[in-house]
Assembly symmetry: C2
Homo-oligomer: 375 residues x 2
């Protein structure tokens, strides 16, 4: 994997760049749709490509449990398995183990847990997590880490950071020889001293990219932004910077401003399946009675398949009828919104007008929020 910064905003930390992988080039800042179990829920690989998705995220935890990473390897790797030929980043499984599985023990060796699918017992270690990601054939692998909950004591967070650092070193050793990039994950909750310590030790080990983990786990929005704004510029400038599991459109804009290059989040896809849609005029809850006979497009300014072909009334009907097409049309729209947002951000940064663009974007979001509250 190669990374180069192409342009840097003179007024803030925002930058554009390119990540070169064996499966093609990714223009940053980039949003990665989440394909948890070998599929970005409800959409086909062709649709993802048409939407302009450059790279997607796969979940180590899910694919390890089902269908099994060794099976995926025997079938030619995750790209071939799911019919997606562009780059894939896999998470380390850490976050999912802590959020989905029943944890039996967190020890130095790794995490003992029970599957959320069938209760079977497993041990995930740094070596195992990297082994899974090697089997999946991810272009970018993530170090196994402990994602602490919020709130957490400074004492526990400190111990956890030490362990995450030791696990990161073991991850790096396990990845040795693989033709796949490996990113380290900076943990430390909302404690700046721990974040800094973690970052220093990870850069000491040396990774192909650096992620900020453990945010958007329940802490107040301002705490998250404070950490992102303070920490991101201190991540090595010559490597991609990845803010994990974040976030709202505003979060992406603020993250880019702080110098983040990569994002992933289930928000556009999960919200789509819940009938909550991002539009240029604010959030639309498609089940609202207001749309019962609304012949207009979901977002008149949007060029996605859903907006070009169907009315709000039809989308509402599909959603209320729990028609499978509902989830897909909504997902297409929300992913288009996120991916188009990132394309606008890249253009604004490249053309040196990101701060202006951001001010207008945030003002418009503010107006929408006021309008939604008044409705």
């Amino acid at each position: 994997m190669k990374f180069r910064v192409i342009s840097k905003d003179p007024q803030c930390e925002a930058r554009t760049g390119q990540i070169e992988t064996a499966h093609g080039v990714v223009n940053t800042p980039v949003f990665m749709p989440v394909g948890t179990a070998g599929s970005v829920k409800s959409v086909s690989p062709d649709e993802l490509e048409s939407l302009g998705a450059q790279i997607i995220l796969g979940n180590t935890y899910h694919l390890y449990l089902r269908p099994g990473d060794e099976r995926v390897a025997r079938l030619g790797g995750l790209h071939k398995f799911m019919g997606w030929n562009r780059p894939i980043l896999t998470d380390s499984g850490g976050f999912q183990v802590f959020s989905l599985a029943r944890i039996n023990e967190i020890g130095e060796e790794g995490v003992r847990f029970q599957s959320h699918i069938d209760g079977s017992r497993h041990l995930l270690t740094p070596e195992a997590a990297v082994g899974v990601q090697k089997n999946l054939g991810a272009d970018i692998m993530m170090c196994f880490d402990e994602c602490t909950p919020y709130p957490v004591s400074h004492e526990y967070a400190a111990q956890s950071v030490e362990r995450t650092v030791r696990w990161s070193l073991r991850s790096k050793e396990a990845a040795d020889g693989a033709d796949q990039a490996l990113f380290g994950i900076v943990q430390g909750s909302i404690f700046k001293d721990l974040r800094m310590k973690c970052l220093e030790k990870l850069t000491g080990i040396g990774f192909d990219g650096y992620a900020i983990g453990g945010l958007s786990v329940g802490e107040p929005k301002q705490e998250m932004l404070d950490i992102v704004n303070w920490l991101t510029p201190q991540l090595p400038a010559q490597a991609p910077r990845y803010l994990m599991g974040v976030g709202t459109p505003e979060d992406l804009v603020e993250g880019v401003r702080a110098g983040i290059d990569m994002f992933d989040c289930v928000m556009p896809t999960r919200n789509a399946r819940n009938g909550t849609l991002f539009t240029s005029r604010g959030m639309v809850h498609i089940k609202n009675n207001a749309y019962t006979e609304d012949p207009g497009a979901l977002d008149p300014d949007c060029g996605c398949y859903t907006c070009k072909r169907f009315s709000r009334a039809y989308l509402r009907h599909l959603f209320l009828s729990r028609e499978l097409l509902s989830y897909r049309l909504n997902t297409i729209h929300n992913l288009h919104y996120y991916l188009e947002l990132m394309a606008q951000i890249r253009a604004a940064v490249r053309e040196g007008r990101f701060e202006q663009w951001r001010s207008r974007f945030l003002a418009a979001q503010e107006n929408m929020t006021v309008r939604e509250a008044e409705d």
Copy 2:
């Protein structure tokens, strides 16, 4: 609506023809995918067109209850509402009322029932059923009928046929002036005298096409084929003949041989969502362990998107993981199988080799059944 027979097989009743509607031409014999609630479950209108669907079926009962036919009318009709610009046939609601709703009373006026969605009380009459279909803007409407269960006494079936005839006359009067075709439905269960009486009275009233209803409701397969083989050739030759709710691939072949022009059935779409797939080599239950690491196409002889792009192992994984993409990829394949089958049938009839084609098809099906039983 205009119908013309284009070719007729000299050895059997099979024929090809064309139905001209305001939304385009339909080449018969034709299979109509079922779009119950304004959507052929899981697939988009674009996909249906790519699959070669010429006409789809909409359900009066479902659309009357939700979103409501008057609403659909205000939104420009069902074609516009669901983004499908080719022909639509709507059923009369009769079959669904009897199979889905809780019936409170079947009287001369019509059927009083409670919605399966919210228990609300409704009265469906011939006039109401036609009114709904006018509002939906169907190219082809169906007369309101009583679909008797199997088995049913001759006495009840005789009374029911009389009522269906009276309802058909009222349907025709209600349809007067509409720029939409109206088909009569021949009922009479497995009683030939009742079927013949019903047919005579319906042809006396005069309709744009004639359907055989009340089959595939639990009677032995041979009973169904007997009725179809005996009755179909007696339906007016100059009008389309429609076998409602049927059936398996073999049923379609036998129906065509008897002189049927139109079919609809939920089998390809419903089976797809249950993981049961039609292939040139027999039925595939995609969840079977045999496919766990099978890298091959679902059907190596199939040219559909699913077969061209994905392995059996992946389709199995999606199905077991209940991924939304599973239902769609399976539906695309099964619809392709049915629509391709009909295209082959049309070509065989047109080229005067239908009986040969049929013999080969049935022998192949027989072999597959034996092979499946041995597996």
